[in-house]
């Protein structure tokens, strides 16, 4: 089985996800979701809460089973978590008894690889996320934004080809969030990973992405995939540019027509 081309990293074909509730009836979380993500691409998934975007990401991460449909990662069917994936959630979920370095090295410990062989890389990642000098601090000594950066370094330490991010900056204040967005783009530019990021912020989705997957709720399905043709590297000034505004307005109109937004 081969879906997509050689440049395709993720190929999803008519993925459904149905939850059985305790009352006995089924809730459809995802319906007929199909898309491709090319290697090195930055794709964002945007939609109101309850549209199944987190469910989709968990299925991609292999921690949630799809009910039906085909899903391949690098040509191989997804049937569980993969070492080739790094994940970042909304909460940093660092282990409070581990230092920054030890937290970053968690995937290495889990994969039972020698820490020593990866310490250099971990140190470089800590520098890359701007936490130089914080290597031996504990999470309790860091701000929320710094903790989330540790989470990003942790997701990259085992050099996965795919980075899955579920509202990674959702808990941060607006200003920290903007600078984290820029930082993420810089990291993406340096590491050339494939990134799939879920957000409920339309401007964030447009600002980061090569393509925006727009989802609508009940049942969660893809209603549109938008190419974002803004030039790179991107800067915060672009948020005020006309093309940026056009994309944001188009997605917002889309949600309004679905009655998914009150704005």
């Amino acid at each position: 089985m081969s879906l997509g081309t050689a440049a395709t990293l993720i190929a999803a074909r008519v993925i459904d996800k149905t939850y059985a509730t305790q009352a006995g009836d089924d809730v459809v979380a995802l319906a007929r979701v199909s898309f491709d993500v090319a290697r090195g691409e930055f794709v964002t998934v945007v939609g109101p809460s309850g549209c199944g975007k987190s469910t989709l990401l968990k299925i991609l991460a292999g921690i949630l089973r799809r009910s039906s449909g085909e899903l391949t990662l690098g040509g191989r069917p997804v049937d569980g978590p993969s070492r080739d994936i790094g994940v970042v959630f909304q909460a940093p979920v660092l282990l409070p008894w581990r230092t920054v370095m030890q937290n970053v090295l968690l995937p290495i410990d889990i994969q039972r690889q020698p820490r020593r062989a990866h310490e250099e890389r971990a140190r470089a990642l800590v520098r890359m996320v701007g936490l130089d000098g914080f290597e031996n601090k504990y999470p309790g000594e860091l701000s929320g934004g710094m903790q989330q950066r540790v989470g990003i370094a942790r997701a990259l330490v085992h050099d996965p080809s795919l980075l899955l991010m579920d509202e990674p900056f959702g808990a941060l204040d607006a200003m920290t969030r903007e600078s984290m967005n820029l930082e993420l783009l810089r990291i993406w530019g340096e590491s050339r990973k494939t990134v799939m990021l879920v957000t409920h912020s339309i401007p964030e989705a447009v600002f980061l992405a090569d393509r925006v997957i727009v989802m609508s709720p009940r049942p969660g399905r893809i209603s549109e995939i938008i190419d974002v043709d803004l030039p790179r590297p991107r800067s915060l000034e672009m948020i005020n540019s006309a093309p940026f505004g056009v994309h944001v307005a188009a997605i917002r109109r889309h949600f309004q027509s679905l009655g998914a937004l009150d704005a």
Partner: protein, 265 residues
């Protein structure tokens, strides 16, 4: 912050000592002024004399070691068993539904009520006291271990699983360390209860120990002597509590309770 904190701390300690002096002084004065008989309430000075005499003769010391050994052995056995079974319940949820109800049923039995049976089964020596202490120290550690092992946020587990962690790795790397602060809450309760357990055991039937000595002195109406033992018992309890706290600060160093204190609360 530290300077102000230091001043506040010193003031608190000063106030605390002052309170003690006022209390003891008032007690001494009341006993003298109202000529309270020594077999009802002994004066603090009489208690001190009994304490010094008991320590000098070695009587208090030898009985102290008996009780202390019972407390420590019972605590280690009970807390160790509670922790081990708590971990088993955490690893195998089936146990929680099948075995745990019986454990709770056992816990509802007042240990004082079964102490005479334990003395008959294990004799008048130290063993029966250790067993009674263990049954009392067991449950707080068990219950807190079980709660602690459930305290890991769901997202933490999902994240580790996404990084290909096995069930065992999630347990060892996240759930067990996360449970430790809860385990220490259980240990702190258990160590204080252990002192009670040993004394209760000695009351029911013993040949040595501070509880045994209390009964003896009570029988001889030696109230000052009894109060002297109470002082030693409370010092033992405080000392063990502080020891558990010191170990806790070392082991679960990431929980800094002073750090999280809400201003003005």
């Amino acid at each position: 912050m530290s300077a102000r904190g230091g001043t506040t701390r010193r003031t608190e300690i000063g106030l605390s000592i002052l309170l003690f002096i006022v209390f003891v002084g008032g007690w001494e004065a009341a006993v003298r002024v109202f000529a309270v008989p020594a077999i009802v309430v002994p004066a603090p000075s009489a208690v001190m004399r009994a304490l010094v005499a008991g320590l000098a003769s070695g009587e208090l010391v030898s009985h102290f070691w008996v009780t202390f050994a019972e407390v420590i052995l019972g605590f280690v056995a009970g807390a160790g068993g509670g922790f081990a079974i708590g971990v088993m319940v955490g690893l195998f949820p089936l146990l929680e539904r099948t075995v745990y109800p019986y454990v709770v049923a056992f816990q509802t039995l007042p240990k004082v009520a079964i102490a005479p049976i334990i003395v008959i089964w294990f004799g008048y020596g130290m063993t029966s006291k250790v067993v009674i202490t263990a049954t009392i120290a067991f449950f707080p550690v068990l219950a807190n271990t079980i709660v602690g092992l459930r305290a890991v946020p769901r997202e933490q587990v999902e994240l580790m699983v996404a990084f290909t962690a096995s069930r065992w790795q999630v347990f060892m790397m996240a759930r067990l360390p996360q449970a430790l602060p809860y385990v220490f809450v259980g240990l702190d309760i258990a160590i204080v209860l252990s002192v009670i357990g040993a004394i209760v055991g000695e009351f029911v039937g013993a040949q040595a120990g501070l509880g045994y000595l209390i009964l003896q002195r009570n029988f001889h109406m030696d109230m000052a002597g009894v109060f002297a033992i109470l002082i030693i018992l409370s010092l033992m309890g405080i000392g063990l509590h502080l020891l558990v706290n010191a170990i806790q600060r070392r082991v679960v160093f990431w929980i800094d309770s002073a750090h999280d204190k809400v201003m003005g609360a």
